[in-house]
């Protein structure tokens, strides 16, 4: 039986895996100075698979368990992660502007790294905020 706790844990794991994949893509892109350190479609497809699996598990858990897992505590964590990820995404512009002029990071590499870092910021912040309230 799928409980709300199992659904929350599964969601946290899928967000962490997708976020870490995005982060790995950005770090490898910068280290290798290339826009495609591994196939470019992997982070996006992984995100879609994660969403599909979370939706499927929520459907299997039933309405009451899904409501418990996606309650107002979840919304608070989601909004907090969105707000902080927004500022991180904005800060990437001056940081990468500096990197492009000083370390000669090419625009395609910066584009790939910034895109995946933006996704990683939200996903990993949500994972962290969701985890710390469970102690």
């Amino acid at each position: 039986m799928v409980t709300s706790e199992l659904l929350s844990a599964f969601r946290r794991v899928m967000f962490a895996i997708t976020g870490l994949t995005c982060l790995a893509y950005a770090v490898l892109a910068l280290l290798q100075m290339r826009p495609d350190p591994f196939p470019f479609w992997i982070p996006g497809i992984l995100g879609l698979i994660s969403a599909a699996l979370i939706f499927a598990l929520a459907s299997a858990a039933g309405r009451k368990n899904a409501q418990q897992a996606f309650d107002e505590g979840y919304i608070m964590d989601k909004r907090r992660a969105e707000a902080h990820a927004f500022w991180i995404a904005l800060m990437l512009y001056p940081i990468f502007g500096l990197l492009m002029t000083t370390v000669a990071v090419a625009l395609p590499t910066a584009f790939g790294a910034m895109g995946t870092l933006t996704g990683a910021a939200y996903l990993l912040l949500f994972t962290y905020y969701d985890a710390i309230g469970r102690r």
Binding site: S4, Q68, D71, E72, G73, Y74, M76, G133
Partner: protein
């Protein structure tokens, strides 16, 4: 302003675990935990729901601290 929360005492007096209360209020155990630890201030609807399932008034669950007024 920090809210004074009495959910833990009242929940324990009723013999309920956080998981039991979460199920009755239709929220996650984490939400109950964060409310009890004063990390999360619940919505009016959730505060009223908690009061209803614990069979107390909202004022018994939550109170504002006394502030000095001149």
């Amino acid at each position: 302003m920090k809210l004074i929360v009495h959910v833990t005492e009242i929940r324990k007096a009723k013999g309920l675990t956080q998981a039991d209360l979460a199920k009755l209020a239709n929220v996650s155990r984490k939400t109950i935990n964060t409310i009890e630890n004063n990390v999360f201030v619940p919505s009016t609807i959730l505060a009223l729901t908690l009061a209803k399932v614990l069979d107390v008034s909202v004022h018994e669950l939550f109170e504002l601290p006394d502030t000095d007024s001149h």
